[in-house]
Each structure stands twice: as structure tokens, then as C-alpha cells.
């Protein structure tokens, strides 16, 4: 299981680390692998900086140009740290209504793509109507990306919210941002959603999802049998599959050391802005 600790993610979605309270005895043993290169931790915050691991599409110069372009765009707007399960507000310039902007609030249910192709999907229920909007992360028409609530969920893709009760994906459009104190780790929301009865869009019972509370009550014996037949418990031991889906540590450290400087500067600028905001926020409320 050591390789899981070293696992370097790229296209694989962010997987939530297990909360440390469950196994406090193992903490001293864990210290070894965790005290590796600190810049490798960027892979959780900026997963799109890692290239697609498919060797057919790799080229070092193209990846370098792509990263440079991404950093140039990041100089223009502040793309904050967010995860699947965070609640975002995205403001875009609207070409269909000249001179206006369009703001959408929702929970991030998916994050995918490498480089400039990076995308994320927001979901919300507005006027009892479920809505999903997909955005390009580096789209120049995006005016502002604001994180309203920074948190993770138990799963790495939240497509099951489409089949869940609507209150689990309802967020008010005029939600206020919740500011986490500096230095706190990103909280994991242990919320378990309740599904609507069948028919469903996908066979959620086969996907080993942790964030669903009441799936067992809708399953028949046939469903349970099929679930057992289609389980692939050996896949987590498939080293080759892991290797093909990830970027090796050495290449990652090269990539991160190349962009680390500028990312640090951007992070500093963001922190400064956050401090200013904490001072000014009460004033606006008073006024």
C-alpha cells in the first residue's frame, strides 16, 4: 500500500484522504512518506498543471508552452483553490445580452481535463428546476470565480446529486462567502444524501459511493447479486493501471519546480486580497 501514499495524480480525480482520527496509532509510521517534497502538494490544488499521462500526446515543449499560457491567464484573474463538493459562484461576460454579466452559483460536481482544456461543472436547483452548467477554467470570458464554501465531499464525482432529493443541490443564488481561518485544512463534509426512488440515471449501487445514505432500501436481490458479480476488488492492486493513469514523481517535481515560483506569488497576492476583504466586509454591512 506504500505506492498509494506516493500516488501522483493527474487525470485521476481528487480522492478524499481518510480522516486521521480513525487510526491515530499509525501516525508516527506515516510521517516517513508524508515528509517528501512539499511542492508535490500542489497536485491537489492545481491538478490541471499535470499533463495527460497518455504517452501518445506527450511533448515536453508543448506542455511548457501550455503551462506558460495558463500562468498568463492566472495573472489576469484569480482562479482560487477549489475541489469537487465546493460551492462556487462564476460570473461570465454574456455575449447574448450585451454589456451584462451572468452569475451562476452551484456545487462543483465534476472537475476534469488537463492543461488549458480543464473544465468544471456546477449544479444548482433554481425555481425547482435542476440546472447544470459546464465551464472552461481558462475561458477568457469568465470574469470572476469565487469560492463560497471551500470543502470536499466523500466522493470524487457527485453525479448522484441528479438522482438525489432536490434539497441536497439547492443553494441560494445570493449566498455569502464563508471565510475559513488561515492555515486550516480543507474540511471534508461527511453529508450523506438520500436518493429518490428508481428509475435512476446510472446504476449507483455498482460504483462504491460513500456519499449515499439510503441506497440499500431500493435494491432488489438481483441488483445485489449483479453488484457482487461486477465488483473488481483487484483493481486497486493493479500497479500497471496506476502507472498508466499517473505522472511519475520525478516528472512531477520538474513541473512543479518550474511553476512553483509564480504560483507562490499568485497565492501571496490572493492572501493579501483575503486579508483586505476581512477588513472591508463589516464596513459594507454597516453601510
Amino acid at each position: 500500500m506504500i505506492f498509494l501514499e506516493f500516488r501522483a495524480l493527474s487525470t485521476l480525480p481528487e480522492r478524499v484522504e481518510e480522516p486521521p482520527q480513525e487510526e491515530p496509532k499509525e501516525v508516527p509510521q506515516r510521517r516517513g512518506p508524508k515528509s517528501t517534497n512539499p511542492i508535490l502538494e500542489h497536485r491537489h490544488i492545481y491538478p490541471e498543471f499535470l499533463p495527460d499521462p497518455n504517452p501518445k500526446w506527450r511533448n515536453s515543449l508543448r506542455e511548457k508552452m501550455e503551462r506558460a499560457d495558463m500562468l498568463k491567464r492566472r495573472q489576469q484573474i484569480d482562479i482560487p483553490e477549489f475541489y469537487v463538493g465546493s460551492i462556487l459562484a462564476v460570473t461570465i461576460a454574456d455575449p447574448h445580452a450585451q454589456g451584462k454579466t451572468n452569475k451562476f452559483v452551484g456545487i462543483c460536481i465534476e472537475r476534469k481535463g488537463c492543461g488549458l482544456r480543464a473544465e468544471f461543472t456546477l449544479r444548482n436547483v433554481v425555481d425547482h428546476q435542476g440546472l447544470e452548467v459546464r465551464y472552461d477554467l481558462y475561458d477568457p470570458t469568465i470574469d470572476k470565480i469565487q469560492v463560497l464554501r471551500l470543502e470536499k465531499r466523500l466522493d470524487d464525482k457527485l453525479f448522484y446529486l441528479r438522482d438525489a432529493l432536490p434539497e441536497y443541490s439547492t443553494f441560494p443564488l445570493d449566498m455569502d462567502p464563508e471565510i475559513l481561518p488561515e492555515g486550516t485544512p480543507v474540511p471534508v463534509n461527511p453529508l450523506k444524501v438520500k436518493l429518490k426512488p428508481k428509475p435512476w440515471l446510472e446504476r449507483w449501487e455498482r460504483q462504491e459511493l460513500k456519499g449515499i445514505a439510503n441506497i440499500e432500501q431500493y435494491l432488489t436481490t438481483t441488483n445485489r447479486l449483479n453488484r457482487k458479480l461486477r465488483q473488481t476488488p483487484w483493481e486497486k492492486f493493479d500497479l500497471m493501471k496506476q502507472y498508466r493513469k499517473t505522472i511519475p514523481m520525478e516528472e512531477q517535481s520538474d513541473i512543479w519546480s518550474e511553476v512553483n515560483n509564480q504560483l507562490q506569488q499568485l497565492q501571496m497576492a490572493r492572501k493579501k486580497m483575503a486579508r483586505k476583504r476581512t477588513f472591508t466586509a463589516p464596513k459594507t454591512q454597516l453601510g
Partner: protein, 359 residues
């Protein structure tokens, strides 16, 4: 006397080698016909164990390094020729092209906020190796004497990507030695007007083309191997059920009976798919990087996979030809070029966020 003869015979026998290797190929597949041009020198060399010491290897490496530095320091012959001496561009004239490597695709956005996919082409170490004027250029060697033909265009050889001279044959190196260069991995022939001829050893850069120009790209398509008719020609196949057996992906009928009871030439059949030379015409250039010599082109229709070589030249499409004079015969190396050129329609990543103003 006889012992001498015997010894000679023995040495001769010792020198004899049996170099007969059976190569097995599919009987019905023939490689595409290829007739090398007369300036072509065989490049592949049989690699043997040279038994060199470590010092000698280092020495060879040093020499290659020295040559590389000398090549880099060599100033472009264009600098000596003043601008007034060079010819002026007129619409009929044909310029030289470039050899580039396809290094991938990524999206860019235009000024209306629309996403466009681009292909990146890198121009690596392009140098003019040889120029053959039209009167000397006779590509076809005929057995029967031909009536004298009048040629308009000369032949220009361009090489790309330096390689280690010890990996190629001596003949191939000789092509480049006469110009004072290390051998190149890729060599290509471009037909140019005599006015656009360049002196040998001229380096070519990505700025040979301008942003907003249209180019033609010639490259080999992806080799897909032996494929059936559904993949190769887009046939529909046959139904999966309704009593159909054993013919779900087969072509079906390949000809009629009667007078035409044979297979007509050109019938679409299974076979080797891809690995053919194809030209994509009228590709627009959106952005040029002068430091790494990268050209961004619109669309993903450049043939070949990532890392494939392709040949770029001015388009022949009548509506997309040059309207104004391009760098003629080519762009001389300048120090004060801007790092990047962008097309007018493309949103630069450095520029601020797009907002749609009220009209």
C-alpha cells in the same frame, strides 16, 4: 608456391561472410513505390561495434560539440546581402518552405470568446543545404532521349534537426559537409522560383511565415495497419441480427455479373489504412513564437500523430494566397523581434478578460 596459394585462399575464405537474411513480408502487401531522387544518398548505416576506448568516445563527442558551436556561430549569409540587392516579391513567385514537427494541440480563444483548437508545429534547426537551378535540375532519368523541356522552378534542399554524424553513412554526411554542417535527420526538396533562391547554409525560422497567412501542410497520416472496409471506407456493414450470420462487418458484393464479371480496379476493399502522404490546404496561422520557433495553426486537421514531421509551404488556393509581400526570399535573423505574434482575431492570454460592450 602452392602453400602461398593455399594461404591466400584461406584468408579469402576467412573474409567471406554470409550476409543472407530472409525477410518475410505479407505476399499481398507491397510498399508504396518510391524512386529516390538523384541527390539522395543512403542514410542508414549498419551499426557495428567500433571497439573505441572511453577517451576516444569523449574525443568524438568533443568534436561534435565544436562543430555544433561553429554551426551556431556561423552568421547567416543573408546578412551580407543588403536589402536592395534582393529581388522584389510578385504574386507568381514561389518561396521555400519549412520542415516542422507536430507537437500537439491545445485550445485558444478568439476575441468573441469562442474556443478554437490549435495545432502546434515546431520548426527545428532548418537550414538550406543545396540549391539546384532550373536548367541543371533533371529529376527524371530517361533511357530514351526526351525533347528539351523548359523548367521554371529550381530545387532547394532543406534539412532539419541535427544528428550524430557517426550514426549515418559517409555519403550522407558528405551532403552536409560541403556546406559546413552536421548531418540532419530530415531532408526535403522544395521547388522554388530562381528569384527566391537562397545561399546554402541559410537558417530558416518560423518567422518565414506571417501571422494570418494560409499555408499548406504535407505530412504522412497516422498508420492504422490493415483495416476492414467499415473503418477504412466507412461502409455500413450488415445487421447484427435478423438471420445475418458471419457477415456483420464484411463488404458484401464487390461487383456485378455478366460482361463485367470481374473486380473493377479501384474497388474499395480491406487493406492498409493510413501512412499515406496527404496535404491539408489553406491552414491559417494564428500565433508564432520566435524563441522556440513554434507556429500555432487553426484546427486539428494536420495529418499524422504527435511527433510526426510535416512540410509547410505557401498555399496554392487562389483565394487564400498572399495579398501583400511576405518576407522574401526569407526572414533574415533579427535580434529585436518580439517574442510572440498573435493574429488579430485571437485573444492573447496576457490581455484582460473579455467583456461585451453594449453597441
Amino acid at each position: 608456391m602452392s602453400t602461398n596459394n593455399l594461404k591466400l585462399l584461406c584468408t579469402k575464405f576467412n573474409n567471406l561472410k554470409i550476409n543472407y537474411v530472409i525477410t518475410r513480408t505479407a505476399s499481398n502487401w507491397k510498399p508504396p513505390k518510391y524512386r529516390p531522387p538523384y541527390w539522395y544518398m543512403p542514410k542508414e548505416r549498419v551499426l557495428t561495434e567500433d571497439n573505441l576506448t572511453q577517451d576516444n568516445r569523449m574525443f568524438i563527442k568533443e568534436i561534435i560539440q565544436d562543430k555544433l558551436q561553429a554551426q551556431a556561430a556561423m552568421e547567416s549569409p543573408l546578412e551580407n546581402i543588403s536589402q536592395t540587392e534582393t529581388m522584389q516579391w510578385t504574386p507568381g513567385k514561389k518561396r521555400v518552405g519549412l520542415i516542422a514537427r507536430k507537437i500537439g494541440n491545445y485550445p485558444m480563444w478568439d476575441k468573441d470568446g469562442k474556443k478554437v483548437l490549435t495545432t502546434l508545429l515546431q520548426v527545428i534547426d532548418n537550414h538550406v543545404i543545396k540549391y539546384i537551378p532550373p536548367e541543371n535540375f533533371k529529376p527524371m532519368i530517361h533511357k530514351v532521349k526526351q525533347p528539351q523541356e523548359h523548367r521554371r522552378l529550381g530545387c532547394m534542399l532543406v534539412g532539419a534537426e541535427n544528428i550524430d554524424p557517426s550514426t549515418v553513412t559517409k555519403d550522407y554526411c558528405g551532403l552536409f559537409n560541403s556546406v559546413g554542417m552536421l548531418p540532419k535527420r530530415h531532408l526535403c526538396r522544395f521547388m522554388v522560383s530562381p528569384e527566391a533562391a537562397l545561399p546554402t547554409g541559410t537558417p530558416l525560422y518560423a518567422t518565414h511565415f506571417r501571422v494570418g497567412d494560409h499555408i499548406d501542410v504535407r505530412a504522412k497520416t497516422i498508420d492504422r495497419g490493415f483495416q476492414g472496409v467499415m473503418k477504412r471506407w466507412g461502409f455500413k456493414g450488415m445487421p447484427a441480427s435478423h438471420g445475418v450470420t458471419k457477415t456483420h462487418r464484411r463488404p458484401g458484393n464487390i461487383g456485378a455479373g455478366g460482361e463485367k464479371a470481374r473486380v473493377w480496379p479501384g474497388t474499395k476493399m480491406p487493406g492498409n489504412m493510413g501512412n499515406r502522404w496527404r496535404i491539408t490546404r489553406g491552414v491559417k496561422i494564428l500565433r508564432i513564437n520566435t524563441k522556440h520557433n513554434i507556429i500555432w495553426t487553426l484546427g486539428v486537421a494536420i495529418p499524422g500523430e504527435t511527433g510526426a514531421m510535416c512540410y509547410l509551404f505557401d498555399t496554392v488556393l487562389p483565394l487564400k494566397k498572399h495579398k501583400t509581400s511576405p518576407p522574401f526570399p526569407t526572414q533574415p535573423p533579427l535580434d529585436n523581434l518580439p517574442l510572440e505574434y498573435y493574429d488579430d482575431s485571437i485573444h492573447e492570454f496576457e490581455s484582460p478578460t473579455i467583456s461585451f460592450e453594449e453597441i
